[in-house]
Subunit: 336 residues, 2 copies
């Protein structure tokens, strides 16, 4: 569906080997936590050689199965720094599986739990004939789902890597997301759904970043003529507009609520676990990640990072996150 | 205008001497920073003996001239812990002046700056024949106005006490307030002005408090039936409803923007100054208060407080704030 390239790239040396990929949709029968038994279409993408050890990769609620550019879709995806040929999650060594979140399209308009996402991935593995994956790497909401998977399907994963996620949402973050959902609902009731969605995303952006970053970026004084314009406005406006172009209010409401419904019993997590917490994270306090590390039943490595980018460290701290991933994925299983 | 008491109070020992007060409205001619020359009605309340040394007291944007219960109005006001007979700001020793903020009613629907509020207070003092006040005590937006007063009318105040305010708004806090104003505007455009205002206030509440406080308060898991209910919702709902009952969207828009327009040159502040910063303040970072303390031209005492309540410490930390106020107000001028 992509237009053919009609011009050669200017710098042939910059061409990276294309990541082979297959996309598909499987309709799975799932027993959803709040919505009961349903037939749910699950959109997936499988990268690399399907015979290689499998790594599941899932990101935030706005991330999808397009993790990196590939043979099916040249768009850069949401984690090109970490996934691809020669990257920390090396598609020449591992096959990589990622799904679009249940609830990200309007095929399923029900309350969704992180456990449902984990169960969908387990059912998908059944369909693929994969009994056990080498690793589940999740960041943000993906970390919550990785933890739910480890708790519910622990025998099916050798190593869980959860970046900036814990066993439950922090109450302050829940309140902040509740307000985001109420903004979306205010927009819907006022027949301005995109205005509400854009504004909710702008508020979310503030929680993904840190006051320090904004303090360094937006130093210009306000410009006042007919209106007052503040230095952060173009950044907020752009973030809202980008989000509205690719997300629907209904999907946002479902997935945002799903974060706040997430609850995992730490003692149900018995497999090998790497937890990454960021000291400046405004959304997932480092203390919550540390408490989880101290409570899980199995072996756990806790990695403590500093980042100007707070919760978005998994997208921004290419070097530090890459090192954690390489070390976690290099772990060999000796007990199975 | 209050109904007479028809029953004696149950415990006569609990009756405190009533604070004598006078209320009035003066129409002042002001040169507003953005709106030019205007005749502006300013509503004031003067507490205590008008011959005693005068202390100006101003709070956040939602605070008004009702600082404490008094002979005109028995409502408790917004700072009963600190102002009254025998309180830190002792109405038996000082007379206390407070105004309703310019822009808090619809008499003045223009862009308003903290400098305008400071000029209104200076003009009011002219009308009262008061050349110089003993102190200007401001908290939150009131601290910004106190600093603007010290910079613009420094010869008219012996001691400035600014609690949880700095020479300018932090860019992260500006972004958060910008989103609050956009929520109000979304509500207005969707013909749901009160819904928007309530929601904006809920978001503001999160910035006034701390993640730690919410983490300790709202530990209950979500309740899910037809809807999902989260532990923080009754608190947020009540905060929104209380605000809507006494505030108008237009006033909120003007005063919120006024915070973000606030800019004072620290080097213009030459008089005695006490700055209070709270380490947990999410809205006014302690670093901003410290930087101001290091930059002002005159003598400055910097008080560093810890509080679970963050920006709301001035309302909640009765003991610590009371001590700071007593010490600041006890200062005798020796150089004038």
């Amino acid at each position: 569906m992509h237009a053919p390239l009609t011009h050669a790239p200017r710098n042939p040396a910059s061409i990276k080997p294309e990541v082979p990929a297959v996309r598909g949709t499987d309709t799975l029968r799932l027993a959803l936590r709040y919505a009961g038994e349903r037939h749910v279409p699950v959109h997936w993408c499988l990268y690399g050689d399907p015979r290689a050890p499998l790594v599941i990769v899932q990101g935030g609620i706005s991330a999808d199965r397009q993790v990196c550019a590939n043979s099916v879709d040249a768009a850069p995806g949401w984690w090109p720094d970490q996934v691809g040929a020669g990257r920390a999650i090396d598609t020449r060594r591992f096959s990589v599986l990622s799904i679009d979140w249940l609830g990200a399209d309007d095929a399923l308009d029900v309350r969704i739990d992180s456990a449902d996402q984990a169960d969908a991935l387990a059912a998908l593995l059944d369909g693929f004939g994969v009994e056990r994956v080498h690793a589940f790497v999740g960041a943000s909401y993906g970390a919550m789902v990785a933890l739910a998977f480890a708790a519910r399907h622990g025998e099916r994963v050798a190593h869980t890597v959860a970046i900036s996620g814990a066993d439950r949402a922090h109450p302050h973050s829940t309140a902040l997301r509740l307000i985001q959902r109420r903004i979306v609902e205010l927009g819907l009731r006022g027949a301005r759904p995109n205005d509400g969605l854009a504004l909710a995303r702008q508020l979310a952006m503030l929680s993904y970043r840190t006051p320090r970053e904004l303090g360094l970026r937006f130093v210009e004084p306000p410009q006042v003529d007919d209106a007052a314009r503040f230095a952060c406005e173009p950044w907020l406006d752009a973030a809202g507009a980008r989000f509205v172009a690719r997300f629907r209010p209904s999907a946002f409401l479902r997935l945002s609520e799903s974060i706040d419904l997430h609850r995992v019993n730490a003692t149900d997590i018995r497999g090998a676990l790497t937890l990454v917490g960021v000291l400046e994270d405004q959304l997932v306090p480092f203390a919550d990640v540390r408490r989880l590390a101290q409570t899980v039943a199995g072996p756990c490595r806790l990695v403590r990072l500093h980042s100007l980018y707070g919760h978005d460290a998994f997208l921004k701290e290419r070097g530090a996150i890459g090192r954690v991933l390489r070390e976690a994925l290099a772990t060999q299983e000796t007990t199975t």
